[in-house]
Symmetry: C2
Subunit: 480 residues, 2 copies
Amino acid sequence: MSRAKVLTIDTMNPTVKKVEYAVRGPIVQRAVELERELSEGMKKPFAEVIKANIGDAHAMGQQPITFFRQVLALCSYPELLSDSTFPEDAKSRACRILQSCGGNSMGAYSASQGIDSVRQDVARYIERRDGGVACDPDNIYLTTGASDGIVTMLKLLVCGEGTTRTGVMIPIPQYPLYSAALAELGAVQIDYFLNEEKCWSLDITELQRAVNEARQYCNPRALCIINPGNPTGQVQSRQCIEDVIRFAAKERLFLMADEVYQDNVYAEGCQFHSFKKVLFEMGPEYAETVELASFHSTSKCYMGECGFRGGYMEIINMDDEVKDQLTKLLSVRLCPPVPGQALMDLVVNPPQPGEPSYGSFIKERTATLSALAEKAKLTEQVLNTVQGISCNPVQGAMYSFPRITIPEKAVKEATGQQPDMFYCMKMLEETGICLVPGSGFGQKDGTYHFRMTILPPTDKLKILLNKVKEFHQRFTQQYS
Amino acid sequence: MSRAKVLTIDTMNPTVKKVEYAVRGPIVQRAVELERELSEGMKKPFAEVIKANIGDAHAMGQQPITFFRQVLALCSYPELLSDSTFPEDAKSRACRILQSCGGNSMGAYSASQGIDSVRQDVARYIERRDGGVACDPDNIYLTTGASDGIVTMLKLLVCGEGTTRTGVMIPIPQYPLYSAALAELGAVQIDYFLNEEKCWSLDITELQRAVNEARQYCNPRALCIINPGNPTGQVQSRQCIEDVIRFAAKERLFLMADEVYQDNVYAEGCQFHSFKKVLFEMGPEYAETVELASFHSTSKCYMGECGFRGGYMEIINMDDEVKDQLTKLLSVRLCPPVPGQALMDLVVNPPQPGEPSYGSFIKERTATLSALAEKAKLTEQVLNTVQGISCNPVQGAMYSFPRITIPEKAVKEATGQQPDMFYCMKMLEETGICLVPGSGFGQKDGTYHFRMTILPPTDKLKILLNKVKEFHQRFTQQYS
C-alpha cells in the first residue's frame, strides 16, 4: 500500500499553489469550525459566529425581491402560470423568458453568450442607465457571476514571457479575485495604491508611477478599476474616470471596470458614473478606440442574489477576431446557469410604472438601499469613536475598511502571521466575529486594516460594532 | 481614430487560440444563421432546423421531472410552502434544502465545496449505487456541471516543461471538452483509440501503446475514461474497468472517470459499473492507492437539466495537501450555482417508496429512459439500412456515432475542410439537420463519422433518420 501518489503538493500545478483568496481563507475555515463546536455544545465566550467577512446579503437576513422570486418560481414550474395568486406582470415576464429557452425550459442549454432576449434587455438597461448611449446586444456576454467574466477577460490578455509577460494593474487594496486570477494565469500583478488619506481615491500620478516602474520588468496591458470600491467603499468622481480613461488611452491599456456595486452608492454628493458612459461622452477619439470590458452581477446592489451566479459583461471596441475567440472559449463551458440568466433579466428589466408589481418592487428595493445607507453611516461613525481605529466614509459598496493601530508588542507576537491576521483571529476566538484582515486585500507596508461588511441587520450591526470596539480596546491594552 | 488595439489576435493568449470545441463550432453557428433566415421568411429546402448536435434533452421536447421542478419552485419562492396543491414530500425536501442555505435562501453563497447536506445526500446515493461501498461526504465537491469539475482536476495535474510536461490520455473519439481543456492548459494530449470494430471497446494493449509512445515526449500523469461513451455510446464491461484500473496503477496514472451518462444504459446485457465500485472490490492494494476522480451531472440521464449547471465530483485517494489546494482554488469562484446544487440533491435523493410523489416520479423517469432505449435501437437500425453508413449499437449515453463512406470525389472537393465537415455542412444546407462531424471528436485517419443525438421525439427522429438516409444516398450518387 506504499505506492507513491501521482498527484502531490510537489508535483501539482505550481501556479495553483500561488493562488490566495483571503475572503474565504483560514479565518473563515476557523469560523466554520467554531460554528460546529458551538453546535456541539462546546463553551465559547460568545453565543454565535457572525460572518461579516463576505458580501452575502441573504445570509445576513436580507430578503429577496418578491417579484424576482415569483418569476423564478414560475419559470421553474410553469404549471404555476395558471395560479391566480401570481401577479400578471410576473407571469408575462416568466413567459417571455421561457419562450427564449430551448423547449421553453430553463433546463435547456442557452447560447454560450447567453439568452438572446436577456442580452437585449441588458443592452436596453445600459442605454437607460447611461442616458441613451447606444449599447449593442452583441457586445453583451452573460456570465456565471462577475468573477467568471473577469477571469475570462484576463485569460484573453495573458501572453509573452519574461519582460514581455502581460502585466495587469490592480488597485491596492483590491478584491482578491484579481490577485488570485493573475497568479493562476501566471500574469504579472502591477499594484497601484489608492490614497487612504483622500478617502481611498485614485491618483493618476500613482497610476503613472506604477506603470513606469512595471515597464522595466513586464508588458502592462490592462488596468482594472473597482468602482464603487471593494474593499474600500469609495465612489469615483466623473473627473477621475475621465482621467483614468485618458491614462489608459495614452498608455495603451485595456480597461476593465468592475461595476458590480453600481446601485450601492450612499454618500451625499456621490453618484455612480459608468466607464462606458464617460468614455462615450469623451468623443470619438476615445469612444472609438479605448477597449473596455465592464462587469455586473446579480449578487450585489439591492438584490444580493449571490447563489444564482448571474452576471454580464459588456465589451467595447474589442477586435472582431478576438471577439470570435472569446465566444469560442465560452462555448467550451456550454452556457452560464440559466436561472442566473433569468434573474439577470429581471434585474435589468424590473417592474415598470403601471405594472401590478411596481409598487412593492420599489418599496422593497428602497427599503434595502436605505437600510444599507444607514448602516454605512453607522459603521463609519461607531468605528471612528474608537481610539486606534480610523475609518473613511463608506461612500458605496458593502464594506468598511478601517485602518487599525496594532501595538508593537502584538506585531512582535504575531510571528509567522500578518499582524492583522493575528488581530482578526484573536477577535474571532474572543467575540465570534469573522472579519478579513487587510493583508488579504493588500495595503501599504506598516499599515493594518480589516474588511467588515455592513450587511447585518441594524440591531445586530450595532452589537457587532460595539463588540469590535470593546475588543480593540482590550487588545490595545493587552499589548501596550 | 487609428490607434492600434491593445488586444488583437496576434497579441492574445496563444493557448486560447488553440482551443477547439466542435459541438458548438462553425456548423452550429451556421445552423443558428439558417434559423434566423427561416424566421425572416427566406426560402429554404426545409421548414425547420433540427439541432441534433448536442445532448440538450429539454430543447428536444423532453419534459422535466415534475417533482424536481416543484421543489425548485418552492425553494425559489418559499411562500408556496403554504400552497396546498404542492405535495408534502416536495415541501419537506424544499425545507431541508432551504435550511442548509444561508438565511434560508438560495440567494446566499454556499460553501465553496457545496452545501453540506447536499454532499451528504450525494455520498449516500453513491453508497447505494455501489452496493454499500463507503463514501465520505468530504470527498464530494459540487460543481458547475461536470465540465467545471473535469477542467478543475486537469488544472491541478498540469506541470513541467518540454519532455516533463504533463500528458493526459484521452479516448479517440472523445468529447471535445477534454482536448479543449488540455489545449488551454498547455498540457499534452495523448490519444488512445477506441476499437470501432469491437463496438468502440477499450483495449488495454492500445492504452499500453499510447503511454509507451508518449513517455518519449511528455510525462503521462492521467487517464480519462468516458463511460458510457460520448460520442461512441459503448458501455464498458466490469472486466474492462478492472483492467483499466490495473493499468493505471501499474503506469502510475491519475484516473478520471466521466460517468455523466450512468443512468443511460439501454443495450441488453450491458450494465453500468462505476470505477469507484470496481476499484474498491479489487481490494486494498488498489482501493487504498489508485487516485480517482469521478464526475456526474444533472444534465444527462433521465433529467436532462443542462441549463441548471449542476454536478459533483468524488475524489478518491487524493493527497491531503492537494485536497486543501483544490478547496482553496474552488473558493476563488465562490460557489457553484445554488439552484444547480438543489437539483443535484433531488437527483441523488428522489422520492422514496411511500412518499406521495414516488409513483409519478417513477412513471416519468421510466417513460423517458424507455423512450431513449427505443430511440437508441431505432437509430442503429435505420442507419444500418443505408449503404455507406455503418453504426455500432448505441449501448448507452445519448448519441450514435456512425461511420460514413465519403466518395473520393467529395474528399477532393472538400479542400481546406475536413471531408466530414464538408458532408455535414452540405446536409445542414440541404435538410436543416445539424450534426457534428467526426473530425470534431477525433477518429482514425481516413475514417469519417458524424455524431447525432438520439434525443428528438420518436416521430421526429424517424423523419430525421429518413432525411439523413436520403441525403447520404444523394450525396454518394452526386460524388460517385
